[in-house]
């Protein structure tokens, strides 16, 4: 079994530069796990500790059930794809791919066969004798992948591998990477700051912020049940709508009141599972698709209309809040118009203003 386990991993660079804090993470065999978070949140540092390029200040690392905290990078049975690809400039594509085999003492004949298989798999055939600088970004990316998969490691570590590609190629490589992972059946740890990549490719996502794990879950869980205010705000495009206020009671039901809006929460809403919620200072979060314009109890005024083709993003003001919603493309709305709207309150999230934690998180949804 070739899973990965991080136990209480802590990493600081100097006294007050903590890069990773008390990180516990268990990655199953064959799982595609993304480390997602804003720049500087400690993703790369975490990956480099997994690779053995950085020593954790404290904590333990296991790969495939074996503790590797003190083991050299080359003996961890991992392969890594770097953000800059890090191809050896003075070696040809073939030599680059063969290098890890050479360093492991694979005999020459066997080496040739393994390189040939990898070259076939990634369709690098016509490029084997070229130097990296004679390749396009996409081709360099494939060579970096080739160098990683050629020796069949237990775990792949990828650090923002697509971030240097243009948008179209990125979408293509995303699909290719997913297929590759299914085909190889290997554990992959994938670092990205791009939520679209994480959402589309991952089995599970670990969201980090300021060196701390915020939530670990499937893309669906992360989207539908964000554990805290940070996760809710980080995932989703356009971003979730937020308004600050208090928990009150309206018509005998718990309700949110703030920013000039009162939103009653329907029976079964997770906030019912939260003891002592009444009167608490909270922030409400509503996804753009849960704000429905056309009719409803609330009124707002449209400020900006952004058609994107198949849908239109509409920004409008209601009470003291600025809200975003998405409507199907082709619906005629104009800036300055008044609109009526309703909110799917059953999908509204409530976060404690003090610590950002989601209310009723334990109750499920």
């Amino acid at each position: 079994m070739a899973g990965v386990r991080l136990e209480k991993i802590h990493k600081s660079f100097g006294a007050d530069a903590v890069a990773v804090r008390a990180l516990d993470l268990e990655i199953a065999e064959r799982e595609f796990l993304s480390l997602l978070g804003p720049s500087g949140c400690g993703k790369t540092t975490t990956l480099r500790m997994l690779a053995g390029l950085e020593q954790p200040t404290s904590g333990r690392i296991f790969i495939g059930g074996r503790e590797v905290t003190e083991v050299a990078p080359g003996r961890r049975d991992i392969a890594m794809v770097f953000q800059s690809y890090a191809l050896y400039p003075h070696m040809t594509v073939g030599e680059n791919i063969a290098y890890p085999l050479k360093k492991r003492g694979v005999p020459s004949a066997e080496r040739k066969a393994m390189v040939a298989r990898t070259v076939d798999l990634l369709q690098l055939g016509p490029l084997v004798d070229r130097k990296p600088r004679q390749l396009s970004g996409g081709q360099q990316q494939r060579v970096a992948l080739g160098r990683a998969i050629v020796r069949d490691p237990a775990v792949f570590l990828l650090d923002e591998p697509l971030s240097n590609l243009d948008a179209k190629l990125r979408a293509h490589m995303r699909a290719e990477l997913i297929q590759l992972q299914k085909r190889l059946g290997k554990t992959m740890v994938y670092v990205t700051h791009d939520q679209l990549e994480a959402m589309t490719m991952s089995d599970r996502i670990a969201i980090m912020n300021k060196g701390e794990l915020q939530q670990l879950g499937t893309p669906d869980e992360i989207y539908r049940r964000p554990a805290n205010r940070f996760v809710a705000g980080f995932v989703g495009t356009p971003a979730m709508n937020f308004a600050t206020g208090r928990m009150t009671v309206a018509d005998g039901r718990p309700a949110f009141a703030g920013a000039g809006l009162t939103i009653p929460l329907p029976p079964g809403h997770p906030v019912e599972g939260e003891a002592g919620a009444g009167g608490r200072a909270v922030e409400i979060g509503i996804r753009p698709e849960d704000v429905v314009v056309g009719e409803g109890p609330f009124e707002g005024r449209i400020r900006v209309v952004e058609p994107t083709g198949h849908e239109t993003i509409v920004l409008f003001a209601a009470g003291e809040a600025d809200l975003v919603t998405r409507v199907p493309g082709g619906i005629a709305l104009k800036a300055g118009e008044a609109v009526r709207f309703r909110v799917r309150a059953e999908n509204a999230h409530l976060f404690d203003q003090a610590d950002g934690r989601r209310l009723g998180a334990a109750a499920g949804h």
Partner: protein, 278 residues
């Protein structure tokens, strides 16, 4: 390249060729003189081309003087110094760039500081040190002496080359199963090659041409390099053997010219390429 008119072009060419001629004239004169028989040197009017070209001075130098010994000494000193400096400077520069340890920056600045010291002030302390250690009057003492002033420059030159190499390259090699030393040899060194060659050339020339230290640190005839050996052998209070001196000078220049011819390609390629891209 900027475009120039034909007139400007002509002026540039004229200027460049004038400079080349001024620089080249003594060298050409040296070669021509070495080929003239002794009696032709002081004829009036002087001849430009040798009337009766001869290799007798070269033959005498090689067969009847200690010139071959001095040549061997110089070669050993220059090659030894170059190897020592290149090995220490590549590893040292890599350490200054990549490893974090207390005093790293301070160390780098001290290295530069020693380079700024005029070498004359170190000569006597160094000599006393050599005597104390018991290596005075040996080729080895000159290797050490030349290393002391080639190394700081070499470290700084190589440091900038090393700093331009992305550390992800070295990390990739480590993940691929290389040891630290293998990563250095397989990946770092090839990237720093233009810098290593420049360093080697600089050190070789310095060690080959050095005079002052050789004069002070070595006063045993069989340990002299070419610079002091030849002067010692061919000049005396009464007489300078010009033809022999010129022939010796020509032969002293040959190794440098050969080294340049072989390495120039790498030098220009290195400088032309600028940094290293991953």
């Amino acid at each position: 390249m900027t475009r120039r008119g034909p007139v400007a072009q002509a002026i540039y060419s004229l200027f460049a060729w004038t400079v080349v001629l001024i620089v080249a004239f003594p060298l050409v004169w040296m070669v021509l003189t070495s080929l003239k028989p002794q009696f032709e040197l002081f004829t009036i009017p002087p001849t430009i081309l040798p009337q009766e070209p001869t290799l007798e001075h070269y033959a005498r130098l090689l067969n009847e003087t200690p010139f071959p010994l001095y040549f061997r000494n110089s070669a050993l000193i220059a090659v030894g110094t170059t190897m020592l400096v290149v090995v220490v400077a590549t590893l040292g520069a890599h350490s200054l760039v990549r490893f974090a340890y207390p005093g790293r920056r301070w160390l780098a600045q001290m290295v530069l500081f020693t380079y700024l010291l005029p070498s004359v002030v170190l000569i006597i302390p160094l000599y006393l040190l050599m005597v104390w250690v018991g290596v005075a009057n040996t080729l080895f003492s000159l290797v050490i002496a030349y290393t002391t002033f080639a190394l700081p420059f070499a470290l700084w030159l190589l440091r900038s080359f090393m700093a331009a190499i992305p550390d992800e390259l070295e990390h990739a090699a480590l993940v691929d199963g290389a040891t630290r030393m293998e990563a250095f040899v397989d990946v770092i060194l090839p990237q720093a090659l233009p810098g290593v060659i420049s360093t080697a050339l600089f050190t070789f020339i310095l060690a080959w041409n050095e005079y002052l230290y050789a004069l002070v640190l070595v006063n045993r005839d069989d340990a002299r390099p070419l610079t002091t050996g030849v002067i010692n052998m061919l000049t005396s209070a009464f007489n300078i053997e010009w033809s022999l001196l010129m022939a010796a000078s020509v032969m002293m220049s040959v190794p440098l010219i050969v080294a340049f011819a072989f390495l120039q390609k790498h030098l220009t390629r290195g400088f032309g390429a600028g940094g290293v891209k991953g």
